[in-house]
Every structure is written in structure tokens, then in C-alpha cells.
């Protein structure tokens, strides 16, 4: 099953080899990998079925993918549909005990989002900071989730807050998001506030419990909470919708064409 290979890594390894070859002797100093911006010239060759459909433009909107809960394994799919901004939240040195002493590496925590309904969180550990950051951005793009926004009171204007009270839990930390009236702003600690800003939520109250100093768990708990906004069945979603075919079924003819 081609879909089980993590294609993101398949994409990354060739670029590493490319970068290292011309430099003899001092790869780190010379900057072995191409810069983040220079990835455009290499065009994307999709590896998964979904990737192929997206590359050919047969899927118009990312929400078609979300509707069927299809796993997304290539970050270029997300790039096609969304313009995401990224930000490094923290770089932490982590150590592992080996036979030859300790091995320290850098771990990067990155949040991506378009400030309008989509967020993702990514983690990556690597020997160099730049590798960790770019790997974390890829992981974050693969984890992008849609965020449902609603109203506190009158349904005037654009949705601005979470539609219902939702909670998320990770480790010992539990976070609860409560709808707030327009103009409240995000009432939260610094890091979850950033996540909520990237999600495009304008007003919300938060309530947290547990050891919030484990920032990683705190952030994941808020992430789970905003994931639940689309999992909650509110009365306006009660109306039955006709079943539609999954993209794989719809475009099965095109997918089964052999490559030349």
C-alpha cells in the first residue's frame, strides 16, 4: 500500500544528499542544505493517491479531504490549498544516553496556521537547529486541522468564537474553551493564546487545570480542544446530507491509469 509510506521523509532525503555533495570537508559550515525558499524549483512528484489527485487539480478544496477523514501524508497537499504562516515556539536541547557518552540534539516546536480556521502543530528533533525547524514545519503542516467558529449571542457578522464549550486533555493538563462575546479577545496564557490566534479564533475564555508548566502538554490540550469544535454535533448540523463518493472512488478511473 503506497499510502503507508511517510512520503514527507521520502521527499526530504534526496535534498539532503544533493546539498552535501559539492561541499568537501566542511558540510556544516558551508550550509549543506538548500535554503527554505529554494525548494520551489524542485517540482513535487506525488507519491500517494491523494497526492496525485491534488497535483492534477481534481480536488478543489481541502474540506473535501477533511469530509472523508482521509489521511494526508504529503505536506505539499496542504501547501496547495492553504497559505500558512509558521512560527517557532521553542527550541529545546534534549539528551540521550549512548555508550559513548551523551548525545544532545535540538528539538523544535512549531505552530502553523492561516489565522482563518486552520492550525497545525509540529515537533522535530535533529542535530542542527535549521533541520529541526524545517522538519517541524513539515510535521505541523501534516497535522493541520480545521477549526469551527461560531457566535456567542447574535449571529451577526463573521463567526468569532468557539461554537460550544469544548475541553481537551493531554497528560495531566486539561483546557476548556468557552465562547466569549465579540471584543473579549483571547483570555489565555501566552502559548495557548498564540495557538488560538493562529487558528483564527478572535474571542474565547480558557480554563486550565493540571501542571501547565509542561508547556508541551498544555499546547496539545488546547489543540485537542479546538479539534473538537468540528466533532461536536450542534442542532444546525442535524439536517441529513446526501452521501457523496469519496475522491478515490470518484476518480478511480484516473487513479488506475498506469504512469508512462
Amino acid at each position: 500500500m503506497a499510502d503507508t509510506t511517510t512520503a514527507a521523509q521520502a521527499d526530504q532525503k534526496p535534498t539532503r544528499a544533493f546539498g552535501r555533495q559539492p561541499q568537501r570537508g566542511a558540510p556544516q559550515r558551508g550550509g549543506a542544505r538548500p535554503q527554505r525558499g529554494a525548494q520551489e524549483p524542485k517540482s513535487w512528484v506525488p507519491v500517494t493517491k491523494l497526492g496525485r489527485l491534488v497535483a492534477q487539480g481534481l480536488i478543489k478544496n481541502i474540506h473535501e479531504i477533511y469530509l472523508f477523514s482521509l489521511p494526508i501524508k504529503e505536506f505539499q497537499i496542504i501547501d496547495r490549498f492553504l497559505h500558512l504562516k509558521d512560527e517557532v515556539m521553542k527550541i529545546v536541547p534534549v539528551q540521550k544516553q549512548t555508550r559513548a557518552g551523551q548525545r544532545t540534539r535540538f528539538k523544535a516546536f512549531v505552530v502553523v496556521g492561516d489565522h482563518n480556521g486552520h492550525v497545525g502543530l509540529g515537533v522535530k528533533c535533529a542535530k542542527e537547529v535549521a533541520t529541526a525547524i524545517s522538519g517541524a514545519i513539515v510535521a505541523a503542516k501534516l497535522s493541520v486541522i480545521p477549526v469551527r467558529r461560531g457566535y456567542w449571542g447574535n449571529k451577526l457578522g463573521a463567526p468569532h468564537t468557539v461554537p460550544t464549550k469544548v475541553t481537551g486533555k493531554c497528560g495531566s493538563v486539561a483546557v476548556r474553551l468557552v465562547p466569549a462575546p465579540r471584543g473579549t479577545g483571547i483570555v489565555a496564557a501566552r502559548v495557548p493564546k498564540k495557538l488560538l490566534q493562529f487558528a483564527g479564533v478572535d474571542d474565547v475564555y480558557t480554563s486550565s487545570r493540571g501542571k501547565t508548566r509542561t508547556m508541551g502538554n498544555f499546547v496539545m490540550a488546547t489543540f485537542f480542544a479546538i479539534t473538537k469544535t468540528f466533532a461536536y454535533l450542534t442542532p444546525d448540523l442535524w439536517r441529513e446530507v446526501k452521501l457523496i463518493k469519496t475522491p478515490y472512488q470518484e476518480h478511480s478511473a484516473i487513479l488506475s491509469e498506469k504512469k508512462e
Partner: protein
């Protein structure tokens, strides 16, 4: 029944207020490490290794340069371990310690912060004999002369090892923080070393410009720290018409450019240690530069890229939902000291700061007779009403109106607080019937980053429970299905005698 219409009117705030904490401004720390110790070469002719556990002690390699070069910072004091002498340079203090006290520190170049190391051990040595922590090395220059003892402090001792590790991680963390502040600094301006263009805002624009326009690669900006200093050094060298790789000077700019093009000297000299402190990789492990690290570890990143099948991923996800965490990706990020400022809460009724909101609520319950949880339950306040109450109290305290009786006659904080705290803190609270605090303007937070607002609730399990149960059911069904599919496929492959590689 009180007449609430006499309550002083309070206009809604245009924007939230801010607390003023007495912040200690976090200073930017530049790494200070030991200079190359050249002078203290110890020549020992015959060694009789004395006490307890010590390995073969070869002449200390004091000539070896440390991987991160320090700046001779005049404000750092290096205290002597055993007397009250101190010096301003690491080299001289080590000389002093050796000459006066016959004391040697092993692997001194790998200690990241020599002055704190010395200070720590200074405290430890008070009142205790040297031999408790050090190993003794006995030497004798010739048969007739007396035996002299040298004391060696090394990381055989676990306490010493811990200190060294701690100093190392502290330095690493501080340097990462500095890089982080550089990364998010919007007012970054720097000039390109080779042309007069200046860059603002984004650090990586300078490095990409160097690569694209001048074909010179110093590495990705994410791997660099103190980028401005590095660029200034490069600028100096370019102004002196010196090649940045082989460091030969030339007659003019055009000759230099031709030389760099021909010889492909389009990167920095890797053996030049003055550039080491700008690359983060060198801070990872002390005493080793990037060449050693590369030799040591090779390709050890493979364990991240193991092939995991999707059933295992689903099982891990299911375990996570149950609360048994196997994926510990996010556990490494624990906030240390910077969170003390963010977590802190201010009492509603006096101006004391607390480390976190739990302490603040305890204080309010004990000192001000204000038990918020009890009030919430007895008055049956829902979430929004509780928020309104808290914001109302904050606003009243700010405007110096008593939140209980509406008294506005106070001119200064002293009399106001004494009124509030009178009668066993009767006025620390609100009257339930008062309609004023139920006004919608108090849904907006009075103070920004008010931790009282985010932490007053007891967690309610029931909201989460139903969702969790549904998720669990869905996931176990999915896993069963996936397992069945897998078994079917394997069976078919066995039947047609295809083997997995």
C-alpha cells in the same frame, strides 16, 4: 433592601488595563568560556599516583584550545577556590591555583562557565579537607627532593559531573533563548558585508542575499546566533580586502573577487575557531567542535525514521486517549523560570503577587474571607456570571469604589484598603442582589493576562467523557477492521507464495 440606583456609575473600559509587575529584565547572556590556557603546562617527571580511585593521569593538555572562544570580559571575576584571591582572567586564576595551592582542575576547557564552577566549589571547600573531593597526585622531581602533592579535581566525582552538566545545559538554554529573541526581533537591521545594502526584519534575508548575490555561503540563519557580530567581522575582513576562506590579502576588490571565484572560496574557513561561537552546533557538547561530533555520531538519526505500520499508530493514538502516553514527543518542553512571571496572579483585594492563581485563591479565602468556590456553588453562578463577578471586583478596586457597599469617598489606597479589610474583611466581596455586577460590560476582562480568570474553575469531567467514549469505540472498531484487512492480505500472499522482503 438597598437602593442600588445610588451606586456610582462606571463607564465601560475602552481597553484592558495591565498589571505592572516588578520585572527583572532578562539580560541577554553571551557565553563566556575559558580562554586557551597556554601557560599552565605541568611537567611531571615521575608520577606516583596516590590515593583512592584515579586513572592514569597524563600531563594535562593545556595547549588544547576550547571549542568556544571566550571574550576576555573584564566584569567577570574568577574567585580562587581556597583563598580570597580573585582574578579577571581564567588563565591567571588557574595559574594562581596551581602555583599557590597545587590544585589542578581536569578538563578545564570543557567547563562552560568557569566562574560559577569555581564559586560553587569554593562554597563546598569551606571547612573541609581538600582530599574529600579531589584525588591526590604525588610527584617527585628527583630522588633527593621531597614529595609534593598535587590535588586533582575531575568529574570522577559524581557531584562534579552534575555541576558540569548543569552548567552546560544552562549555557545551552541561555544561548537558545538568545537565538529565539534574535529570531523574533522585528527591529533587526544589518548591512551586507559585501555591498552597501541594508536588511531589516528577517535574519534569513541576509544569508539568502549572500548566497544569491555574492555566491557566499555562511550557513542557514537558524543555525547561527549573534548574527550581527558575525556579519560585522566579515565586513571588516572584506573591507581589508581579505579572502574569507584562505585569509590572504589582495590588492583590490576585483582581484579578490576573481580569486574567490577561481578557487571556489565561497565559504568560511572551517578550521578558524573564531567563527565557532556563532554556530549553535558547537554548543551542543563542550570540548568538541563539529568535526569531532560528526565523527562520533555519524548517522544516528535513523531511529526517528523507522517504518511503523498504521495499526501501531492507531494503537498508540488509542493509548493516548486513555491517558497512557507512549508518544512522548511533547513532554520535553517544560517551561522553567520565565513562566514564573506569566503564571503569577494578583489578589483581588490587596496588591500582593502570588506565584500562581491557586495560592492567590487560598490567600483570598484565608485572609479576606472570600471563598470563591463556595460562593459559586451557593449562589449557583454559571461560568459567565463568575467572570462578571471577578471583573467587577477588579474594576471596583481599580476605581477605588468599595465593591460591597459602593462607597466612593476614598482619596488614597491606604484608606481604601483599610475600609475593605475592616470588620473581618466584610467588604471583600459583593452583595448577591446587586444588579450592577451582572452588567454585560464585565464580560470583558478588566486586566490583560489576568490569571485569576483562567484558573478559577474546577475541572468538570463529564463534558469530556462522552466524546472520549465515542472516540474509543470508533477507534477500536477501526483497529479491528484494519487488523482483519491485514490478515486477509497476508493470508492471500501466503497462498500465492509471495514472500515479504
Amino acid at each position: 433592601m438597598q437602593d442600588w440606583s445610588k451606586w456610582p456609575t462606571v463607564e465601560p473600559l475602552k481597553s484592558s488595563l495591565t498589571f505592572d509587575f516588578n520585572l527583572k529584565v532578562p539580560t541577554i547572556i553571551t557565553p563566556t568560556t575559558t580562554t586557551a590556557t597556554t601557560a599552565t603546562t605541568i611537567s611531571i617527571n615521575s608520577l606516583n599516583i596516590g590515593q583512592s580511585d584515579s586513572e592514569d593521569f597524563s600531563a594535562s593538555d593545556a595547549e588544547s584550545t576550547s571549542s568556544v572562544v571566550s571574550s576576555t570580559n573584564n566584569s567577570i571575576k574568577y574567585p580562587c577556590l581556597l583563598c580570597s584571591h580573585f582574578e579577571f582572567e581564567s588563565r591567571t586564576i588557574l595559574e594562581h591555583i596551581f602555583n599557590q595551592h597545587k590544585f589542578v582542575i581536569a578538563d578545564v576547557n570543557q567547563i562552560t562557565n568557569l566562574s560559577s564552577y569555581l564559586e560553587h566549589w569554593k562554597k563546598q571547600f569551606v571547612g573541609k579537607p581538600l582530599t574529600e573531593f579531589t584525588t591526590v597526585v604525588q610527584t617527585q622531581t628527583s630522588k633527593s627532593e621531597p614529595i609534593t602533592n598535587y590535588y586533582l579535581l575531575s568529574d570522577i566525582l559524581p557531584q562534579d559531573q552534575n555541576i558540569r552538566k548543569k552548567l552546560q545545559t544552562d549555557q545551552l538554554n541561555s544561548i537558545l533563548e538568545q537565538q529565539h529573541s534574535e529570531r523574533i526581533n522585528p527591529s533587526f537591521t544589518c548591512a551586507c558585508p559585501m555591498c552597501p545594502i541594508t536588511f531589516k526584519g528577517d535574519r534569513s534575508s541576509v544569508t539568502t542575499h549572500l548566497v544569491e548575490q555574492h555566491n557566499f555561503n555562511i550557513g542557514l540563519s537558524d543555525n547561527l546566533v549573534n548574527l550581527k557580530e558575525l556579519l560585522e567581522i566579515l565586513k571588516e575582513k572584506c573591507d581589508e580586502i581579505q579572502c574569507l576562506y584562505c585569509e590572504k590579502t589582495f590588492k583590490s576588490q576585483s582581484v579578490l573577487k576573481l580569486h574567490m571565484k577561481k578557487k571556489k572560496h565561497n565559504r568560511l574557513n572551517p578550521t578558524n575557531t573564531t567563527y565557532d561561537k556563532y554556530y549553535l552546533l558547537n554548543y551542543l557538547e563542550p570540548g568538541k567542535n563539529w568535526e569531532d561530533l560528526k565523527k562520533d555520531h555519524g548517522d544516528n538519526d535513523d531511529d526517528d525514521n523507522k517504518y511503523i505500520n498504521n495499526i501501531d499508530i492507531m494503537k498508540q493514538a488509542q493509548n493516548e486517549n486513555n491517558g497512557n502516553h507512549q508518544i512522548t514527543h511533547w513532554d520535553d518542553w517544560t517551561e522553567g523560570s520565565d513562566n514564573e512571571i506569566e503564571d503569577s496572579a494578583v489578589c483581588l483585594f490587596c496588591e500582593t503577587h502570588f506565584d500562581n492563581s491557586d495560592c492567590a485563591f487560598d490567600h483570598m479565602r484565608n485572609v479576606h474571607n472570600f471563598d470563591f468556590d463556595k460562593k459559586r456553588k451557593s449562589w449557583n453562578l454559571d461560568y459567565y456570571e463568575s467572570i462578571k463577578l471577578l471583573n467587577f471586583v477588579r474594576r471596583c478596586i481599580y476605581e477605588m469604589i468599595c465593591c460591597y457597599c459602593g462607597d466612593k469617598s476614598f482619596k488614597d489606597k491606604q484608606s481604601f484598603f483599610s475600609h475593605l479589610h475592616s470588620n473581618q474583611h466584610e467588604h471583600c466581596g459583593v452583595v448577591q442582589d446587586n444588579p450592577i455586577w451582572k452588567d454585560a460590560q464585565y464580560l470583558f476582562p478588566t486586566y490583560e493576562n489576568d490569571n485569576i480568570l483562567t484558573n478559577f474553575e474546577e475541572f468538570d469531567e463529564s463534558e469530556n467523557q462522552q466524546y472520549l467514549e465515542e472516540e474509543l469505540e470508533y477507534q477500536s472498531n477501526l483497529i479491528d477492521e484494519m487488523q482483519q484487512n491485514r490478515d486477509n492480505i497476508l493470508r492471500k500472499m501466503n497462498e500465492s507464495n509471495i514472500t515479504l522482503n
